[in-house]
């Protein structure tokens, strides 16, 4: 047992070099200034800390949990681009967390980690909806490559321009444009608009904006969401958008078609 741990640690240290190398040749975890968000569920603190350091060094934004119950709670928020899930965890094991997530239609890519290299675990994990697995001990280079592969699959489905009514939002250059004019949005404004446009007619809660854009452990006042919403509203109005951001008091915001059709062109 002890031997195994030391072996694992040695391997982790040895593969640091590989980490640097792979971060040069591969697609970075950062796209137009937005960090990919990962959830790491691993009960072994030492390993968890080491992984966080490596992932952060590679420009991922990471939340950590140490048992299955927290993993499920965090995973259900849908705030992640990928989840790294250990199988052997207290309270709920990784397989159970995974099947619960999939039951709730959460399709975020999941990478399973297992101490055992048993075939059964891998089969069960993949059948429960895991996208990939890695057996411990592993090299960080391989872990990073697998995270990239896993999140890349998701990218394929994402169009580079979001459209809603007469308004377009470009993921390439953060441009919010109408027929006659365009604005270049700042990073957080862009993320907020993207969330709204991905959820037309659906409510996005103030907390979801906070967690997704500012992060869980932010000290930023929650009213900042309100301020950013008013920035976006001004721009949408100036572009004569036929969609507007409506408030649901005390809950959140929703992108909806304008009721007033005075200024809105319907000929698209």
């Amino acid at each position: 047992m002890k031997e195994n741990k030391i072996k694992g640690a040695m391997q982790r240290i040895a593969s640091f070099n590989l980490t640097y190398f792979s971060s040069i040749v591969s697609k970075p975890a950062i796209c137009m200034g937005i960090k990919m968000r990962l959830l790491l569920a691993e009960d072994e603190r030492e390993l968890s800390n080491a992984l966080v350091a490596i992932l952060k060094h590679n420009h991922y934004s990471v939340d950590t949990v140490y048992d299955g119950e927290d993993a499920l709670d965090y995973g259900l928020t849908e705030n992640y681009d990928g989840i790294i899930l250990d199988i052997m965890m207290p309270k709920k094991d990784g397989l159970e967390v995974l099947s619960q997530l999939r039951k709730h239609s959460i399709t975020v890519p999941v990478l399973m980690l297992t101490a055992k290299s048993e075939v059964d675990d891998r089969i069960m994990g993949l059948d429960a909806g895991a996208d990939d697995y890695l057996t411990k001990p592993f090299s960080t280079g391989e872990l990073l490559a697998r995270i990239r592969a896993m999140t890349r699959r998701k990218d394929e489905f994402t169009p580079n321009t979001l459209q809603c009514g007469n308004i377009c939002l470009s993921r390439d250059n953060f441009e919010l444009s109408g027929a006659e004019s365009s604005f270049r949005l700042a990073n957080k404004e862009f993320q907020m608009m993207e969330m709204l446009m991905n959820n037309v007619n659906r409510l996005v809660s103030t907390e979801q904006f906070m967690e997704r854009i500012w992060g869980y452990d932010t000290e930023t006042e929650i009213n900042v969401v309100w301020v950013y919403i008013s920035y976006l509203r001004k721009k949408l109005a100036s572009l004569d958008a036929n969609f507007e951001i409506r408030v649901v008091r005390g809950v959140g915001y929703r992108l909806e078609e304008c009721i007033c059709i005075e200024n809105c062109s319907t000929n698209l």
Partner: protein, 214 residues
């Protein structure tokens, strides 16, 4: 008047005085407005205001470019910016406030308006343009009034430099970057306006914004 200065404006003959009077009339109105705001202890919407009479050389160049006869008559009646006035404001809403103020000035009638803030030029240029006809001592003069924010003014002065430089390295990249900056400044101008309104709201109704949730 300086002799060189006079030589440059000889082209306008006896109409020069009329142009100068109109220019001074406008600047005096702006000065009066300024005093008005100060005396009421209100925030001023105007950062600064400039006026110029087009020098004869560029007036003639413009006539030539437009295929018009190079005469004083054409300069005064067929091009509209021999007298140019630029009003630079703090916030976007101030631009429209000033537009309404100009429209209400006595002796001024609007010939044409173009809102390049709502519909920017392809290069990213933003300003509110008005061509007005000013009646002074039974004579009329055209003037072009440009109203814009500080950010737009800053951008325009850089773009102007590019236009008159013969050869700029990385021309294409510079043009793209200027367009990007224009769209970023426009975004910031909007945000400043939004923040300003939040502050006003906060002063008007305490606890309504920063004090309460949501």
């Amino acid at each position: 008047m300086h002799s060189l200065y006079q030589a440059e404006y000889m082209f306008y003959k006896d109409k020069l005085a009329l142009l100068q009077d109109t220019q001074e009339m406008f600047l005096a109105s702006v000065g009066e407005l300024h005093q008005n705001y100060i005396s009421k202890g209100l925030r001023e919407p105007i950062e600064h205001c400039k006026a110029r009479i087009k020098c004869a050389r560029s007036a003639k160049e413009k006539l030539k470019r437009k295929g018009l006869p190079i005469t004083l008559d054409a300069a005064l009646c067929q091009i509209y910016d021999v007298l140019g006035i630029r009003v630079v404001c703090t916030f976007i809403n101030d631009v429209y406030l000033m537009r309404n103020w100009v429209a209400d000035l006595p002796g001024i009638s609007i010939v044409k308006e173009k809102d390049y803030i709502k519909s920017p030029k392809p290069n990213g240029y933003r300003s509110y343009h008005m061509i007005v006809e000013v009646t002074m001592q039974n004579e009329t003069v055209f003037a072009e009034i440009q109203i814009r924010t500080l950010a737009m003014d800053c951008w325009a002065s850089l773009e102007h430099q590019l236009k008159y430089k013969q050869e700029v390295r990385y021309q294409e990249m510079v043009v793209d970057e200027l367009k990007r900056c224009a769209d970023e400044l426009a975004s910031t101008d909007m945000n400043l306006q939004a923040i300003r309104e939040l502050i006003k709201l906060d002063i008007g109704k305490p606890d309504n914004f920063f004090g309460s949730k949501g």
